[in-house]
């Protein structure tokens, strides 16, 4: 297997400095819905100008370059240890080049490792698959939006939320209401229904890799995605919490099997600086999406 370190550095650079096309388009559309001259429209304008500058200057869109989350899909025969070592090395180089801020802090001493490596940092998940290519998805998830993520155990009496999709709707709206503008609205919600606590949160984050507008194959979940998106926007929290019509740009939901005794709903909130990109390695050729 070839050394992909430089390709990983380029993946990090593109992810940190250039928003995916669907996100930029969604922010442009949102701008048109907000009242002319409002603080909400001003915030969206600033986001769009910032995006243009970041791409042109090859600089991080946001200074919080977050937790780098790598989802690596690889064919039989690749060494995950070698790939993990190359990813870690790429993260160190990307930090030196200021595509990433040093973000890995020792939880006990408070010391910053200075190079974005540490225990379980960056996050890397490996998935062996039948394809003959390597695909690496990267998300840079900042702390502001990570902090407003939430997990609910249903039933939830105060919210009158039972163990059904109506209960899911209620708790997800509660997460949006509690987040206000703190997660850097307008955000995207990844929602997992079921699983144990750990699997549930991880799966909710995986939903955030889906393109905006992608709907679940299950028509009931697809309808729920649409309903929650619409109702979250009726809350009027708006861009950065300034008030306005755009609070979330999309909601994406999927489910896992659960224990009879448990019914978790996990909500991962991704900020407007929704930095996610993919890289595909086919033989010697590397392409970025």
């Amino acid at each position: 297997m070839q050394d992909l370190t430089n390709a990983f550095v380029e993946l990090i650079r593109r992810t940190s400095t250039d928003l995916p096309g669907d996100m930029e388009l969604a922010l442009r559309d949102a701008r048109e819905y907000e009242a002319p001259g409002s603080a909400a429209q001003g915030a969206l304008d600033t986001m769009l100008v910032n995006q243009e500058m970041s791409r042109r200057l090859s600089r991080p869109i946001c200074q919080d370059t977050g937790t780098p989350i790598f989802e690596v899909h690889y064919p039989v025969g690749w060494s995950t240890r070698a790939l993990a070592a190359q990813i870690k090395q790429a993260v160190v180089i990307a930090t030196e080049k200021a595509y990433l801020r040093p973000n890995a802090v020792d939880s006990i001493s408070g010391a910053n490792s200075g190079d974005n490596t540490g225990t379980e940092f960056p996050t890397i998940h490996f998935h062996e698959w039948d394809e003959d290519v390597v695909q690496v998805d990267l998300m840079l998830k900042g702390g502001g939006c990570e902090n407003v993520g939430a997990q609910y155990s249903l039933p939830n009496a105060p919210l009158k939320a039972g163990r059904d999709l109506e209960g899911v709707r209620k708790v997800v709206l509660d997460a949006v209401q509690r987040a206000q503008g703190q997660g850097c609205a307008p955000g995207v919600l990844g929602v997992a229904i079921g699983g144990d606590r750990g699997a549930s949160y991880a799966f909710s984050k995986q939903q955030l890799f889906r393109p905006l507008g992608d709907r679940n194959d299950d028509p009931e979940l697809a309808a729920l995605e649409e309903t929650i998106k619409e109702q979250a926007n009726e809350l009027g929290i708006g861009p950065m919490g300034f008030g306005g019509k755009t609070t979330v740009l999309d909601v994406q939901i999927d489910s896992l099997h659960r224990l009879p005794a448990s019914f978790f709903v996990s909500v991962s909130y991704m900020c407007w600086a929704n930095r996610r990109r993919s890289m595909i390695v086919r033989g010697e050729e590397v392409t970025y999406q």
């Binding site: 600033t46 946001c62 200074q63 919080d64 702390g143 206000q180 503008g181 703190q182 919490g241």
Partner: protein, 207 residues
Amino acid sequence: MIHKLTVPISDEAISALHVGDQVELSGVIFTARDAAHKYMVEEFIKTGGNPPQSEESLYELLKEKLDGGVIYHCGPVVAKDDGQWRFVAAGPTTSIREEVYQDLVIEHFNLKAVIGKGGMGPRTLAACGTFKAVYLHAVGGAGTLIAERVQEVEDVHKLAEFGVPEAFWQIRVEGFPAVVTMDSHGQSIHAEVAAKSEAKFRELVGV
């Protein structure tokens, strides 16, 4: 209309500001976030302005520069070219984590503005009224644009101890864009939006 503010900021300039106003700020300001706020309160304020000897020089500097001055909740991405620091990306971080410290810092240093994102709570709002200060909201995530408004990194304090995101970066800014979301007249956009969205939420969820 955009209000131009220059550090040091006068009480009159603060009184003229109301929620929703757009401002452009110029002058020397300091980044300070979680570690820096904890440090200021424990070393400077709780000691009654008698910090340990090792911290005296930084205290004297902050007393001078923060009088009429500005703190920015930000942990930047920085680069060093030929020995000179440069801001690469420098949007705001979430402010509410400093709620337990901010009113004390505003009072102790005669701070006139705090820049961040997400707004702050009742203690900070009360301090804005009592000591004539405002909360300025920058657009979260707008890291490149704001870094471009940083003309010079004059100095950095506590870098080794706190790390890049948490250090006190002493920066000279020109035309830093922000919106007043908490003013010195008791108004907070955050409280208003939260109340309205809460009412709608109750209607949608039936609680």
